[in-house]
C-alpha cells in the first residue's frame, strides 16, 4: 500500500510505538535512525514544526507526533491487528490514558528518577510509584494487556515500561518490582515475549552503556550535589 518510512531513534519509546504498530499489522517499512544530536535534513524537512522523531512518511507525505501516527496507522491498515476497540466510549478511554501518560507532568517523575539526586530524587520515586499504582490498578486491572486479550494502542504507549529495568539497573533503585506491581510485571513479561515486540526492543547492553553515559553527563552538569 505504498512506500512507508519511519524516522526514529533506536532507544526512543515514541519511535518504537510506531515500529511496533507497523510490525503488528505486518506493514513493511524502511527504518531511518536519526542521530538526535545531529538531525538530518530529511527530519527537518518532514517535521519543520517540532523537528522531532518519530515521523512516518507514507507515499512521501509526512506525519509527526506518535499519538497522531498511531491513529493514522490504525485507520490506514484497519484490518490487521486492530489497535483500538470499536466502541466509541472505549476508544475515548484509550485516548484518555495515552493523553494522560504522555503529559509532561506524568513523564517528569520517571526522568527525574533517572537523572535526579537527593530530595528531588526521593520525591520522584514517590510520584513514579503512585503513577505505576494507578496504571496497575485502574488502567490494566485484571486484563492481560491494556488492550484486553491482544496488544492495543495503549500497550504500545506503555511500552517504555518494557525496558525500564535498564534504567533501574543504572540508577540502582528498583521501583517497578514484581511484589508491589505483580500485574504490571506480568504485563511486561507478556509484552516483551510477543514476537513483534521481542524483535524490536533496544539492545540491553547498548542501552546500559549509552544510558549510563547519559546519566553521568547529566549528573556532572547538575547544580545539585549527591548526598554523602
Amino acid at each position: 500500500m505504498g512506500e512507508v518510512k519511519v524516522l526514529g531513534s533506536w532507544s526512543s519509546p515514541y519511535g518504537l510505538r510506531v515500529q511496533w504498530a507497523l510490525g503488528l499489522k505486518s506493514v513493511e517499512y524502511e527504518y531511518i535512525d536519526e542521530d538526535l544530536l545531529n538531525k538530518s535534513q530529511m527530519l527537518l524537512k518532514y517535521n519543520p514544526v517540532h523537528k522531532k522523531i518519530p515521523v512516518l512518511v507514507h507515499n512521501g507525505k509526512p506525519i509527526a507526533e506518535s499519538a497522531v501516527i498511531l491513529e493514522y496507522i490504525e485507520e490506514t491498515w484497519p484490518q490487521q491487528h486492530p489497535l483500538l476497540p470499536k466502541d466509541p466510549y472505549e476508544r475515548a478511554m484509550v485516548r484518555f490514558w495515552i493523553n494522560f501518560l504522555d503529559n509532561k507532568d506524568k513523564v517528569a517523575p520517571f526522568i527525574t528518577f533517572f537523572i535526579g539526586v537527593g530530595e528531588e530524587h526521593k520525591k520522584a520515586v514517590n510520584e513514579a510509584k503512585e503513577l505505576l499504582k494507578l496504571y496497575e490498578e485502574q488502567v490494566l486491572g485484571e486484563k492481560k494487556y491494556f488492550g484486553g486479550e491482544e496488544i492495543g494502542m495503549l500497550d504500545l504507549a506503555m511500552g517504555w515500561m518494557a525496558y525500564f529495568g535498564v534504567i533501574e539497573e543504572i540508577v540502582d533503585v528498583k521501583i517497578l518490582d514484581a511484589e508491589t506491581f505483580p500485574r504490571l510485571h506480568a504485563w511486561i513479561q507478556n509484552f516483551r515475549a510477543h514476537p513483534v515486540i521481542k524483535n524490536n526492543l533496544p539492545d540491553h547492553d547498548r542501552l546500559l552503556q549509552n544510558y549510563t553515559e547519559k546519566r553521568q553527563r547529566f549528573l556532572a552538569y547538575s547544580p545539585h550535589t549527591e548526598n554523602a
Binding site: V49, H58, K61, I63, A64, E65, A67, V68, I69, E71, Y72, E75, T76, P88, Y89, R91, A92, R95, F96, N99, F100, L134
Partner: protein, 219 residues
C-alpha cells in the same frame, strides 16, 4: 442514541467551549452545568477523579474527559451530522497534528502573556504570534481549517479568540495587526451560531482575568 448528555463546564474555559461548539454544530441537546472551580461539585470529582477538571462530558452516566477526546467522541457517536474530523486518514492526521500543536502552545503562551511581565512576557508574545502565523500558513486560502465547513482544528482554536482581548490588554499589543488572516478567519467562524453562542464576551473574559490577577497577586 442521544441518551442523557451533561456537560460540566466553566464559562470562560476555552476547552469547555470546544465541546459546546461541537454539540451545537451537530444540534445535539444537552444539559450545561456551571462548575464553581473553587468549590467543585461531588459529581465533577466523581466523574473526573484523575484530573478533577472541566470540561467533563457525561453520556448516559459515563464520563469522557479532556476536550479533544470529547470532540472526537462526539464526532464518532453523532457521525452523520456535521462531521468535524475529515474522512481521509491523511487529512485526519494533519488535523490531529495541528490540534496537538494548539494544545501544546496556545494556552500556555497565552497564560504567560497575562501572568507575566518584562522579558518573560515579551518572549511569550513573540512565540504566541509565531504560532498564530504558523496556523495562518496551515489555513492558507481556505474558508475554515476544515475547508468549506467548520472542522476539528477550527473547533479547537476558535475558543481562544474569546481570550484575545484579555491577552492584548495585558500584553499591550494587537493580534489583528500581526495576524490579520487569523482575525478574518475568526470573524467567519463567529458568523456561525454554534460558535457565537458558545463563546463568552471578550470584555467579560478580560474582567475575569483582572479578577484572577488580583486573586493571585499578579501586577
Amino acid at each position: 442514541m442521544a441518551g442523557e448528555l451533561v456537560l460540566l463546564d466553566f464559562w470562560p474555559s476555552p476547552f469547555g467551549m470546544r465541546s459546546r461548539i461541537a454539540l451545537a454544530e451537530k444540534g445535539i441537546p444537552y444539559e450545561y452545568r456551571e462548575e464553581d472551580l473553587r468549590n467543585k461539585s461531588d459529581l465533577l470529582l466523581q466523574m473526573n477523579p484523575v484530573h478533577k477538571k472541566i470540561p467533563v462530558l457525561i453520556h448516559n452516566g459515563k464520563p469522557v474527559c479532556e476536550s479533544v477526546i470529547q470532540v472526537q467522541y462526539i464526532d464518532e457517536v453523532w457521525h452523520d451530522k456535521a462531521p468535524l474530523i475529515p474522512s481521509d486518514p491523511y487529512q485526519r492526521a494533519v488535523a490531529r497534528f495541528w490540534v496537538d500543536f494548539i494544545d501544546k502552545k496556545i494556552y500556555e503562551l497565552g497564560s504567560k502573556i497575562w501572568k507575566t511581565k518584562g522579558e518573560e512576557q515579551a518572549n511569550a508574545k513573540k512565540e504566541f504570534i509565531e504560532c498564530l502565523k504558523l496556523l495562518e500558513g496551515e489555513l492558507g486560502d481556505k474558508t475554515y481549517f476544515g475547508g468549506e465547513s467548520l472542522g476539528y482544528v477550527d473547533v479547537a482554536l476558535v475558543p481562544f479568540y474569546s481570550w484575545f482581548y484579555a491577552y492584548e490588554k495585558c500584553g499591550d499589543f494587537s493580534i489583528e495587526a500581526e495576524c490579520p488572516k487569523m482575525i478574518a478567519w475568526v470573524k467567519r467562524c463567529m458568523q456561525k451560531e454554534s460558535v457565537a453562542k458558545s463563546l463568552p464576551d471578550q470584555e467579560k473574559v478580560y474582567e475575569f482575568i483582572l479578577h484572577l490577577k488580583k486573586v493571585f497577586g499578579i501586577e
